[in-house]
Structure formats: C-alpha cells, structure tokens
Symmetry: C2
Subunit: 422 residues, 2 copies
C-alpha cells in the first residue's frame, strides 16, 4: 500500500470564497459614472475621454491591489498576478470598457471588474497559482466608435494591428490612430509590452445579452461556441425629386425601395434560429419635401451554421434585386465571422465550478460576438455567461442582479485558478 498523496493547497482551496462581492458591485456603480447618461446607461466610446478615465480608474484599483500593469501598442491593458512559474504561459481573462453610443453600464465593465476581483481573490488566498493570471482590458470591443470592433483582441492574437486599423475614422473624422495616441499620452506610467504573448487559456465573463438564461431560470451559461455572423451594407440609389411635383409612379424613391427590401428580408430571414437586424440607416438628402435620392443601410445576419449563412447571402442578394424597383441597389458583404466552437475543457471547468458553488448551468451558444472570437485561434478559449434582465443589452436599460454578478465572478475565479494550476 502506498501512502495516500498529500492534498495540495490547490485541491483544498475554493479561491472564490475570497471574492469581495460587495466591492465588485460597488465598483460597477463607480465605473458607470464615467460617461454616465441621464437614463442610467453609459456613453463611453472607445478611447474617448470618458473611456480613458474609466481605464485609469481600473488601473488605480489594480495598482492598489499590487497587480502588475502593462499596456501594448493596440491600447490593450494587462493586469497581472504573478504565478510561481514566472515563465509559464499565463491564463488570460478579459473584456472591454468602451460602450455603445447609448449603452449599458454592465457590458464589458462587468468582465473587466470581475477579472480584477478574481485576481485580488486569488492573491488574497495566500497561495500563488502555478501560472501567472492576467486580466486584459481590450481596446474598442464594441466597435461602435471605430468599426469593426475587437480591434485590441484581434491585434493581440495576430501580434499586429490589422492593416488599415489606424486609419479607421469615427463620425467626427478622428482616426483610431489619433485616439490611440491620445490614450498613450496618458499612459506614461505603464510598462510597455509587445503585441501578443502565449497564453495557456482565455476565459471571458459577460452578461448573456439575450433572455435564454433568465427564461430558463439558470444562473450560469456554459458557452460552447459562437454563432456566425455576416454583415452587409446595402446601398440604394434613386433620384431626388420634389415631394409635391413628381408623381409617385415616376419616382425613383430610394427610401421606398429600401423599405420594400427590408420588408422582404423579414420573409427571407424567417427560418428558425436566423437572426437578422437592420441597425443603421441613412437617407439623403433627408430634407422636407424632397423624395429620398439615396438610402444606405446595414444588415446583420446570424446563425450557428455557416452553410445557412452562405445560402442566406444568396437569398438576400435576390431580394435586393427583386424589390429595388426603379432604383439601383448594391449589396456589399463588409464583415464575415464564421461560427466557432470553444474549448470543451473550459466548459467542463465552468460547469464543475458552478456545481461546487451550487449554481445552475445551461449549455448554450453565444449569439453575440465577443473578444473570445479573436482569442479562439490563439489559445483554448471559452466564455461564461450570467443572466441579464429581460435579455436587454446594448441599451441604457441593461440590468444584471448583484447575485448574478457575484455568481459569475466566483465561477470565473475558480476557473482561472483551475487553469492556472493545470
């Protein structure tokens, strides 16, 4: 008979017991002051003064906790808890601090602050993990100021900024490069590291941004993959004319054509599990008494199966042609994000941690995009979801409960600890 092996500190320790849930909730409220809107949301566009202030708030808290601080040329920030093996590839978590123009106070902020609290909890537990654990703040996660988003995480995974990123301009004409320099001018005190480093795993914590967990009364979403997405720009060109003088039958009204096309998309995209959205639309000259001469709108289509998306693309092209009437219509695919499957070990660790904590779980797809998409090709990656009120997100009315916030942060803490000692 051999002696039973002595339990290691890792076996005995449920590090999430150390989580300061009250501080997490309080800091969510404090962070929401940066860019606060009267309706209770935030307007904190990427690298805007409000977002830079939010970055410095988090940096201040991380510095007080004794974490290592660094930033990279994409504007990403890294908060680092050292491991016993300083040279081991760290475990990574991360989220973002930018928001939609009228966004919620939890998206992004929750993942960042929960990551910070997870690192603090693990530090407080008194046993250093084997691997370092790093919490990242990704630049331009939402992509609503500089489109497309995930600029920071994509640059991290590729170890270089995507071609043309620096030249992308916001609505006011300011470039991403200029905004990045404005942030960097405030980041003099931070260590500078190169873009990208090896990671042993990436785990992202986020609110669901849909109603499934709430509907099913589940506390933790074990995210197994992410549905695919195609984004199109549809340009309709007609002819401006006098709204009184030009008979309707003789018009080339670009908005009328756009409305027919958008109406037609309802049937084309009506298959189960297809989600489509027209979220941006502009017409010119957009003046009283002038028949619209042109209309441009976005179309976002999502499904878990890439083949379905490919077939839909063809159907969308046909509907544009059949409904354009006397106008010209061009369909341009501007973004393709194929469906992805996450690392099953992260899902298993998530489910196990939730079970230990007495939290119910549900396996599900992420219907929205996340920085984990960028990381999925870089290292084993996964996402943990918590419920959000009525599924509302990307809205000033976005809401999570403090219990849900605590539950998700505790699961994240334990999963990070798991992988940091694996």
């Amino acid at each position: 008979m051999t002696e039973p092996s002595t339990p290691t500190p890792q076996d005995r320790l449920m590090v999430s017991e150390m989580l300061d849930a009250a501080r997490l909730w309080q800091r969510l409220a404090e962070l929401a002051r940066h860019g606060a809107t009267p309706a209770g949301g935030v307007e904190r566009l990427a690298l805007s003064p409000a977002e830079v202030a939010a970055r410095h708030a988090v940096l201040g808290w991380a510095a007080a906790a004794g974490l290592g601080l660094a930033c990279d040329p994409a504007g990403n920030i890294f908060l680092r808890l050292e491991g016993r093996s300083a040279s081991a590839a760290p475990v990574l978590t991360g989220s973002y601090l930018d928001s939609q123009p009228k966004g919620g106070r939890y998206s992004g902020s929750y993942g960042v602050l929960a990551g910070l609290e997870a690192l603090c909890a693990i530090g407080r537990a008194g046993h250093a993990p084997e691997r370092p654990i790093v919490a990242a703040i990704w630049t331009n996660g939402e992509g609503s100021r500089f489109c497309p988003g995930y600029t920071g995480s994509k640059a991290f995974a590729a170890r270089r900024l995507a071609k043309g990123s620096l030249a992308v301009r916001d609505d006011t004409g300011a470039s991403f490069g200029e905004a990045l320099s404005a942030w960097q001018a405030t980041a003099g005190g931070l260590a500078k590291i190169r873009l990208g480093f090896d990671c042993s795993a990436y785990v992202e914590l986020h609110l669901e941004q849909g109603p499934e967990l709430e509907d099913r009364n589940k506390q933790i979403g074990v995210v197994t993959g992410m549905q695919g997405m195609r984004r199109y720009q549809i340009d309709v060109e007609g002819e401006a004319a006098h709204a009184g003088g030009m008979p309707r039958a003789r018009r080339r009204d670009a908005l009328s054509a756009a409305v027919r096309i958008i109406g037609g998309l309802e049937s084309v995209c009506s298959a189960p599990d297809v989600t489509h959205t027209v979220s941006q639309l502009a017409i010119t000259p957009n003046a009283p008494s002038v028949v619209p001469g042109s209309a441009t709108f976005s179309l976002d289509v999502r499904h878990a199966d890439d083949t379905v998306l490919t077939h839909l693309g063809e159907a969308i092209r046909l509907i544009c042609q059949s409904e354009k009437g006397p106008c010209r219509c061009t369909l341009t695919e501007v973004l393709t994000a194929p469906p992805i499957t996450f690392d099953p070990l992260i899902g298993a660790s998530t489910a196990a941690a939730a079970a230990r904590l007495g939290l119910t779980t549900w396996p599900m797809l992420s219907l929205g995009g996340h920085d984990a998409r960028s990381l999925a090709g870089h290292c084993p990656s996964g996402i943990i979801f918590i419920p959000c009120h009525k599924g509302i997100s990307h809205s000033e009315h976005e809401l999570i409960s403090s219990q849900a916030a605590t539950g998700g942060a505790r699961v994240l803490t334990d999963v990070l600890w798991d992988f940091a000692n694996a």
Copy 2:
C-alpha cells in the same frame, strides 16, 4: 362719328421684346457658382455664406440697372422699378435664392433673375408703368435649413415674423435669428423698410418641378391653384437590444415597426392624385449590432381636396396603430397647408401673354408649395410655370432649357406690365 381713340403706349408695347434673354441665361450660370456642388447643383442653404453671396450678386446687378434696393426685418430683399404713380400699390413678383441641401441651380434663382430681367426690360422699354413693379427675394423659401419654409413671404404677408421664427434652429444649432443677423451685418448699404406693404397683385414664375408640361409638350403652365398638404412627424419608440442576443420575436425593434408603417402607407395613400412622401428618417442609436430603439420619420401628404386630406389623416393614424407591433407610436401633424385657388385674372393675363408670344399653355394645379401661398391671402396672386427636364427638381440634376427660361420670363414681363397698368 367720333374720332378713334389714340392708342396708348401700353396698347402698342410688347415689353417682353426688350427682355435680354442671353443675359438671363448667363446670370443663371453665374449665380449657380454660389454654393456650386461637383454634380452641377447647388448647396446654398438659407442665409448661409453662399446664399448671402448670391444675394449680393443679384443686388449688384440690380444696382447697375438703376433699380431701387431695400430689405426688411425678415431678410427679404426688394428690387423696385418706379411707376408713374409712386404712391400706387406696386405689382409684385418674387422667388428665393436658398436651395435644398443638394438642390438644383434653377429653383428660386430662375424666378428671381427672371423678375430682375423683367424689370430691366420694362425699364428699357422707355415708358414707365403706372404702378411701381417690385421683385422680391424671399428669405428661406425652401425651408430646408430652417423648417418650415416661406419664412420671409409669410412674414411679409402677415406684416410680422411668425411667433418662434427667430428661435428655429438648423442642424448645427444655429438659430434663424442668428443667421438673419449675419445677413443683416452685410446689408448696411440697403434701405430698410417695414415688414409688408400693399400690393395690387403678386405673380411668381417657377419651373414646374413635375413632368406634366413636358409630358403634354406645353410651354407655359397657367397655374389655377395649389393642392393642399399635411406634414406629419411619426415617432416610434421601441427598445434597443443586442442584435445577436435578443431573439426577433422578443424585440421591440423601432425600425421594423417604422418599415411596416411606411409599407402600410403605400396602400392607405394609393388613391388617385394623392401624393405621399417619407423624406426624413432617423433611427437611434444607429450603431452596428444594436436593435434600433427609436425611429422618427416625416410624412408629407398632398391632394387638391382638403376633405380627402382630412380622411387620409385618420387612415394614417389607424395604420400607425395597426402596424406599430410592440412599439409605441405617436403621430403629430406638424404642418397644414390647405388647397388654394389663385386669382383668375392673373391666369387670364398669363394665357393672353403666352398666346401673343406664340407659346402653348396648359391650365394646372401647383403640386408643390410656393411663396405664392403666403401672398394669396394678401393680394390677388398667381403662378406661371415653365417645364423642367423629366420633372426632376429638388435635385442636383434639375434642368430647364434656355428656350423655356426665355419663354417664361417674357410671359412674366408682359403680365407684370399688364397689372402695372391696370
């Protein structure tokens, strides 16, 4: 037997023979340089630097022609040819120099420059008319910078600026009052007159802005009246949400509701001779990946019969309610312009002048609004139309022929002469 009466100079004179048609055409091109767009139109918003420059160009030509120059507190400009009876109520013509955001080079400008040339022609004829003849440049005719339009002509007819006019703001936040002051600062050399004066008649010359004259191959439109118009603002309020996460069935997508309503209007407004246009539309937050939370759009409905418009208003209200789905929808009538009938004597004079000049005529309604609507309650009023290419107006592609421009200006000249001696 009595001696036959000696013909008066008025009887013998066809003053339109004196019209300098080449100069009219040349000045239309010169005026189009102010605010010229690359596509050949003009962007010359009311009281903008480009429109103020256009005003001064016309003032320079009028001064060189020896006409009297004056302006009023609404920014209206008056070019005056004296009559033999200085105290008689003048005959008035007029138009405007502002344009749509991407407008044509002829709307407004043509009526102003033809009025100037008519005064020059009558002056050149060597016989002063009995009454003074005045050509007005009305402020904010298009109403695309400061909505609603006809600000100057309405103030003239009412002898006061409409309540709240000065506070109306453009897209940049500048008020009409501020823009007016900017113009007035350049108008130091002009005589200042009070708002409004008695007129014996008002005759406006304009391109048709529709295809009827061209279709019927007629040269002069004898405008017998103006159809009525109602303008509505429709506000749809839904809820912003994540374009991936929120299932379509659970959304309160404001743009989807707006598209259903706009689609429904096609059938509601399908009766013969009803013209409806949605020409302004804005959604929020208008960001990628965010389900539209609100949508606001304009609806312009026109018909010659006010009763039809009233019934349509009720049908429009019903369609908003039936198609709004889970969103809220409010319908606000923001502008009402009833149908009007013009003075038959002006029509008769127009038809007679055209016949003398060998030009074909067609009696017709004005389907668009004009400053003549403001004047119709002030003095006997009327409009003369000339054809425009394919009916296109409120567009950079607006086009008239030089022959049509000459024909209309000659008819205007003779009609003004008629009424100035009546």
